[in-house]
Symmetry: C2
Subunit: 154 residues, 2 copies
DNA sequence: CCATCATGTAATATCAATAGTTACATGAGA
DNA sequence: TCTCATGTAACTATTGATATTACATGATGG
């Protein structure tokens, strides 16, 4: 999973899980996400601790969704991931006593906060159920079935 | 200058230059920004090519502002820097054929674009002149003069 | 039980992006 | 023509994130 795509990747994984009746192993998810099983476990561990997914060990084990898709928004997932910085632009803090820096930071911070608030509210508007519905609409349009393995063939 | 603070750092430099009557050397700016002169030159070179600053070689040389502070917005500078990604969250593109990924990306892209547009318009609203005025207001409030060197003493 | 499967997790390695450094060329003044 | 300052290429260092390895824990099925 490449940089900066954690939220996107996790949503992808969750929707794929939603299509599966049985637990999905980290290995299967890793293959689909083109990454390593350990990376999947690391990321999913956070979601599990916050009650979004469950994990089971042993035969037939793996990951399952713990909540209704309609009850989870993209913002929920974003926050469950530890709220990685949404905005790539940060403030300098080298010379906090410098009045120029204070003026610059004040202006930038205001603009960033506004944008971040808008983004979060947009994310809050979209539930996993809505994404899933969108997916199924696309699926019907294409007129084919869906299998995790074939959807990510190389 | 640490990561992700390019815009902030450049604005800082520009405002400091505005306070100076004579050209400021890369070395002086580097000291103030706690970085290396070559880094300053690299970044400023882009701004010079786009007409925001001028550079002069030889004795008494250095960097000067080429435009009125009132004519330059934060968005102008942001764009002059090569429009570094504002949003730290990107879309996955590993499996563009996967319908799940398409659904996820569609939702995220919409939200991000909205937020980015808002951020850009906020940056466009603020001119360097306004930042400078803000700085001078803070300066008056503190009741002291301003010198580049002392403002960044360690 | 014990072999196997799967997660849990620490430790380590790899990788890419950015920043910093060195070195030397170019041009402007004094 | 000596010095100062930018211009720039090449290289190194640092950092943050991801990937990998290795091993522990627990569940299941024979």
């Amino acid at each position: 999973m490449r940089r900066g795509s954690r939220l996107s990747g996790v949503l992808h994984v969750l929707l794929h899980m939603a299509e599966q009746d049985e637990p999905v192993t980290s290995e299967a998810l890793a293959k689909a996400m083109d990454t390593n099983p350990v990376v999947i476990r690391r990321v999913m561990a956070g979601l599990r601790d916050q009650g979004y997914v469950r994990s089971e060990k042993g035969h037939g084990g793996g990951w399952t969704l713990a909540r209704d898709l309609a009850d989870v928004s993209l913002r929920d997932i974003y926050e469950a991931l530890g709220q990685p910085a949404l905005l790539a632009v940060g403030n300098r803090t080298e010379a906090p006593g410098c009045l120029v820096e204070q003026a610059v930071n004040a202006a930038l911070t205001r603009a960033f906060n506004d944008a971040e608030a808008l983004l979060l509210s947009r994310l809050a508007d979209v539930t996993l159920a809505r994404l899933s519905a969108d997916f199924h609409k696309r699926l019907a349009g294409r007129g084919k079935g869906h299998r995790l393995e074939t959807a990510h063939a190389k």
